[in-house]
Structure formats: structure tokens, C-alpha cells
């Protein structure tokens, strides 16, 4: 992990390389995180991957987070890893909610990290975050015809009735 001054240094260099890309940083529990502008996410990831001295070449995890009621509402978290130094760095793209019927968008990082394909599909599936330029952006774990974004916090738990033989007569034609 970069320590707190190291993280500020990375943030400063990143802001010099890609103007206005880093919105904030935090360092807690021994882990460093950069909060970045989602429009610049590819620049940030490319810089961290290719700049000598950074070389975070392994994307170990990619996941979506929702911070409702905090703003910005969504986050896409990239856990980067530098294998030779065994250093991890977390990048969070802070995405605002564009409104009820519009899906938030950001660039796909599959061109940089081929292994992001499935995780990005998972984030799309559960949070409705669209990754521009993803080669095959479909639902991955939920059925393809499913409507809704189940891991958003405003999506209720237990919204679907469970059918047993005892309650089947009460819910006729439930399968439709």
C-alpha cells in the first residue's frame, strides 16, 4: 500500500498528467484510495498501469457500490495491484445519479484489463451502470429478461413471492 504522503503524491502527479481527474483521496485501515472523476477513469487507470514507478498492472477486483443517500450516489471500485511490490491501490469512480430513467455511464476498462469483462457485466447487472465500449454488455447472473437493478439500495429485498405448494392456489398463474 502507498502510505498517506505517497497517496497524495500519486494524486498530485495524476492531476498534473490528467487535469482534474482526482477528486479526493482517503487513507484508512492501511489502505489507500483515490476518488476520481468517472469521465477520466480510463486516463487514470492507463496512467497508473503504464507510468514507470506506478505499474499497477493487475486488476484484482472491480465492483459497484451504492452510497444512497450520500452523494454522488454510485461508485465503481477498482482494486489495482502492483505484483512485484505487492502494493494495492483502490480507485473509486464517483458517479452521480443522472435521474430516474437514465443509467449512469462510464468508460469500460476492458481495453486496459481484459479480465474486467465479467466484473463489469456484473456491475451492469446489479447496479445498472453502463460501461461504454464494453464488448458484450449483457446481464450475467440475473436472467436476461429481468427488469430492475437488484443491488441498488432502493430495490427491496424479498420483492418476489416464493411459490410453495401450499400457497400456489393463492397466487394463480404466478409463472406469467
Amino acid at each position: 500500500m502507498p502510505d498517506a504522503p505517497g497517496l497524495e503524491l500519486i494524486a498530485k502527479e495524476l492531476n498534473d498528467a490528467a487535469d482534474g481527474s482526482v477528486l479526493g483521496t482517503y487513507h484508512e485501515h492501511g489502505q489507500a484510495c483515490l476518488i476520481v472523476n468517472p469521465d477520466r477513469i480510463l486516463d487514470v487507470l492507463r496512467w497508473l498501469r503504464d507510468t514507470p514507478g506506478q505499474e499497477y498492472r493487475f486488476l484484482s477486483s472491480l465492483h459497484g457500490v451504492e452510497y444512497l443517500p450520500a452523494e454522488p450516489r454510485f461508485g465503481v471500485v477498482y482494486e489495482l495491484l502492483n505484483m512485484p511490490r505487492a502494493e494495492r491501490l483502490r480507485i473509486r469512480a464517483a458517479l452521480a445519479d443522472p435521474g430516474p430513467d437514465v443509467l449512469p455511464e462510464l468508460d469500460s476498462c476492458v481495453p486496459l484489463f481484459a479480465g474486467a469483462e465479467f466484473p463489469e457485466r456484473e456491475v451492469y447487472d446489479f447496479f445498472g451502470i453502463v460501461f461504454r465500449g464494453h464488448p458484450d454488455l449483457r446481464r450475467i447472473l440475473m436472467p436476461e429478461e429481468y427488469v430492475g437493478w437488484p443491488q441498488r439500495r432502493d430495490f427491496p429485498v424479498g420483492g418476489e413471492p416464493v411459490i410453495f405448494t401450499r400457497n400456489e392456489p393463492v397466487m394463480p398463474r404466478w409463472y406469467e
Binding site: H29, S60, Y67, M83, A86, A114, G115, F118
Partner: protein, 429 residues
């Protein structure tokens, strides 16, 4: 009309895997099929469903395979058949009730799932785990690794026709489950790890049974290797099959035995030692070629290393408490409840509401039998996690299956899938 610039909607004979939406420029059978071109019968592609209910898919995995004769020209995994929404459900449970939930993701490495989650919450709480608990955790995790690799070895060998291996491996796997039953009360999904330590100390006689098991296990592994290592059929089916370059594996996010078989000595137990792994002496087996045979050898060698770690953990097991002494997080000892009012209050608070975790987020990664198992928890200050995400190694590793299988025979697909060792419960969560 040139067939190569024209793209039809999925017409008869069209190959759905070839539907890319891109202009077709190549002249291979896939691209020509995608272009709606009429091919000679012998060069036509046949798209078949492999699974989801097929004994060789190691779970409910569906593969869409495009075949030219017996050669795999394209392959796409379709997952999600056993998705149960565990991550969503975790947000509705207090922290200590999440533990049995996450265990059920990757049902062959439940101790690892527990460790990933508990370790992550401990990181958020900045809670120190006592040494004896760390040793007990390592001991159970390495037993679990043995158990997981034994199931893998048995089922994979079964896929390749070595049926007796299945029985031998399940015989020894049962001994591991017996040990789990003795120490934790359950054979699978034990809920043994708690935030702050482990639920209970090991019982009298467990050490004896465990050392008897450890004394016998290396000779069992010798027997397995005697069956498979120089078995002509096994060698023919695994050697030089499914090779993916090391850099490509890293790009795809592959970790664990698959990456080590390709020659990358990456093991989180060594590079970022968690729990008590720093105290033990063990080696990281690596392969040279990265074919199915190397993957097999790496895993079998890992079983030997696990036995070594278990023996060291048992020998050096420190005395002392097996769970942290933080009454705001850990249940008070049972005997205190009848004498101490404070203990009773703490017990009541912990059981009814659970403990609260200060706001923050943390990622905690461990080396599961399949690779990097990470847990990401967002805490909002309440007694329930705001978000739990498990980075399951099977999910990411599955992306490399296409690279392994492309332009190989369909029989090798079975072998590649077996050596990939996916656990669909972990993939679908």
C-alpha cells in the same frame, strides 16, 4: 454481393456466437458464418449447448460452443443458474449473521469465505485476533484446502476416465470432514470463524486425530501420484493442453494454481502474509509450461505443503484465548452470564442488535484454493454492512477458459474445465 462486407441478422445457418455487430473482414469459417455465407458442409460450424446440466461442468455451468468438426472454434460461458443474491441479502443481516451466508458461496472452501469476511470486518474494526485463534484459523483453512483439492482431484480424474481416483479422494476427503465435525460440530458450512477469533477451542483428542491424519496423508498423495503421474492416458490428455501465456493470464485477472502453473510464483500467503502464515515454513509450487499437467502437479504439491503447514500449526499452537476480549464485539463467555450483569447486557445487545462497525470501507484478500478471494465491505456505522462484495476467484478465472479451449478438441475442453476447477456456487453467488 461480397459475403464479407454483408452482415445478416441471425438467419438459418448463422452462428449466434459470431454475431458481433462488427463488419466481417476475415475469411475464417466463424467470420464467414457470421456473414451469413453458405459454407461447405464440412466447414460449417455447429453451435451446441454444453450443460448446464452436465456432469463434467462441475456445477451448473453452460457453455455455448461452436464446433468445426471436433475442433472448438468459439466458446462462451453462460453463468448465473445458481445465483441466490447472497450479496444483496448480506446487506439485510447484522455482521455476525452474514458469516454463515458468505460460507455458502464457494461451497468447497467455506473456511476461506469466512476468513475473507471476518478478516475484512476485523480490519474495519481494527480488532486484533489472538495468536491461538490465528493458528486455529490457519489449521482449518489448510485442512479446507486439502478437502477442496481432494474433491477437485477426484472429480477431475473422473472426467478423464480414472474412476477409482474419485473413490480414493472422497475417502480421504471424508476424513477431513470428520475432523471438521469434531472441532466445529459440522461437516460443511461450519460457521467456526467469528469476528475476533474462532467460536470454540479444539476439543480433546482433536490434535491426536489430526496428527494421525497428517502422518498418513503424504503417503496417500504418493498413491494418487503413482496412479496418475505416469499414466499414459492421463499424460496424453493433460500435457501441452490448454496452455495460456503467463502475461495473458495476468491480464485476465487469473490467480491461484492456474497462474502458478504458468510459472508466476504469486501466492498471497507469502507475499502479504495474513493471520499466522508468517510463522510457517512452506514452499510455493510453480509450473513451467502451464498446461493441464502442470496445473495438476501444482495442486497436488500444494496438498503436501498444506500438510506441512498443518503439522507446524499443530506443533506450535500457542496457549491462550481463542477469541478476542472485546466485549463490544465478541460474545462474553457463557459462565459469566450467571454472575455478571454487564456480561448479560453485552450478550443481549450482541444477540439482538449485533455490533456496530465504524463507517469505512476495506478490502481483504486471501489465497483460497482457487486464487485470490477478496472481500470488500462498506460499513455505514450501523450493525449491518452497507455492501458486501466477494471477489470470487472462480468467477474471474472462468474468463480464461476460452483462451484455453480455442482451436483445441472438444475432449480437451473437458480437461481444461476440470483443471480450471470452477465452483459455480462461487461464480454465481
Amino acid at each position: 454481393m461480397s459475403a464479407h462486407t454483408h452482415r445478416s441478422t441471425p438467419s438459418h445457418g448463422g452462428d449466434i456466437l459470431g454475431e458481433t455487430g462488427e463488419e466481417v473482414i476475415g475469411t475464417s469459417a466463424i467470420e464467414r458464418t457470421a456473414a451469413g455465407d453458405v459454407l461447405e458442409p464440412e466447414e460449417e460450424l455447429l453451435t451446441i449447448n454444453f450443460g448446464p446440466h452436465h456432469p463434467a461442468t462441475h456445477g451448473v455451468l453452460r457453455l455455448l460452443v461452436s464446433l468445426e468438426g471436433e475442433v472448438v472454434r468459439d466458446m462462451k460461458p453462460v453463468v448465473g443458474y445458481v445465483h441466490t443474491g447472497i450479496e444483496k441479502n448480506c446487506e439485510d443481516k447484522s455482521y455476525w449473521k452474514v458469516i454463515p451466508f458468505v460460507e455458502r458461496m464457494d461451497y468447497l472452501s467455506y473456511f476461506f469465505n469466512m476468513e475473507a469476511f471476518c478478516g475484512c470486518v476485523e480490519r474495519l474494526l481494527e480488532l486484533e485476533v489472538p495468536p491461538r485463534a490465528q493458528y486455529l484459523r490457519v489449521l482449518h483453512m489448510e485442512l479446507n484446502r486439502l478437502h477442496s483439492h481432494l474433491v477437485w482431484l477426484g472429480t477431475s480424474a473422473l472426467d478423464l476416465g480414472a474412476m477409482s481416483m474419485f473413490f480414493y479422494c472422497f475417502r480421504d476427503r471424508d476424513r477431513v470432514l470428520d475432523l471438521f465435525e469434531m472441532s466445529t460440530g459440522q461437516r460443511m458450512h461450519t460457521r467456526y470463524f467469528q469476528v475476533g477469533g474462532v467460536f470454540e477451542d479444539i476439543p480433546v483428542g482433536f490434535a491426536h486425530n489430526l496428527s494421525a491424519f497428517c502422518a498418513e496423508m503424504p503417503s496417500r498423495i504418493d498413491q494418487y501420484e503413482a496412479i496418475l503421474n505416469r499414466n499414459e492416458i492421463f499424460l496424453e490428455r493433460t500435457r501441452n493442453i490448454g496452455i495460456v501465456p503467463r502475461q495473458r493470464l495476468i491480464d485476465l485477472g487469473v490467480t491461484g494454481p492456474l497462474l502458478r502453473a504458468a510459472g508466476e510464483p504469486w501466492d498471497l500467503r507469502k507475499v502479504t502474509p495474513y493471520e499466522a502464515y508468517r510463522d510457517f515454513e512452506f514452499d510455493i509450487p510453480v509450473g513451467t509450461v502451464g498446461d493441464g499437467y502442470d496445473r495438476y502437479r501444482v495442486r497436488v504439491q500444494e496438498m503436501r505443503e498444506s500438510v506441512r503447514i498443518i503439522e507446524q500449526a499443530l506443533d506450535g499452537l500457542p496457549e491462550g484465548p481463542w477469541i478476542a476480549d472485546d466485549r463490544k464485539v465478541v460474545l462474553p463467555p457463557r459462565d459469566e452470564l450467571s454472575t455478571s450483569m454487564e456480561a448479560l447486557i453485552h450478550h443481549f445487545k450482541l444477540v439482538t442488535e449485533g455490533f456496530r462497525v465504524p463507517p469505512g470501507e476495506a478490502y481483504y484478500a486471501i489465497e483460497s484454493p482457487r486464487g485470490e478471494l477478496g472481500c470488500f465491505v462498506v460499513a455505514d456505522g450501523s450493525a449491518k454492512p452497507a455492501r458486501v462484495h466477494i471477489r470470487d476467484p472462480s468467477f474471474t478465472n472462468l474468463q480464461s477458459l476460452r483462451d484455453m479451449c480455442l482451436n483445441g478438441y472438444i475432449a480437451d475442453l473437458i480437461q481444461n474445465l476440470a483443471m480450471l476447477d470452477p465452483i459455480l456456487g462461487g461464480i454465481d453467488r
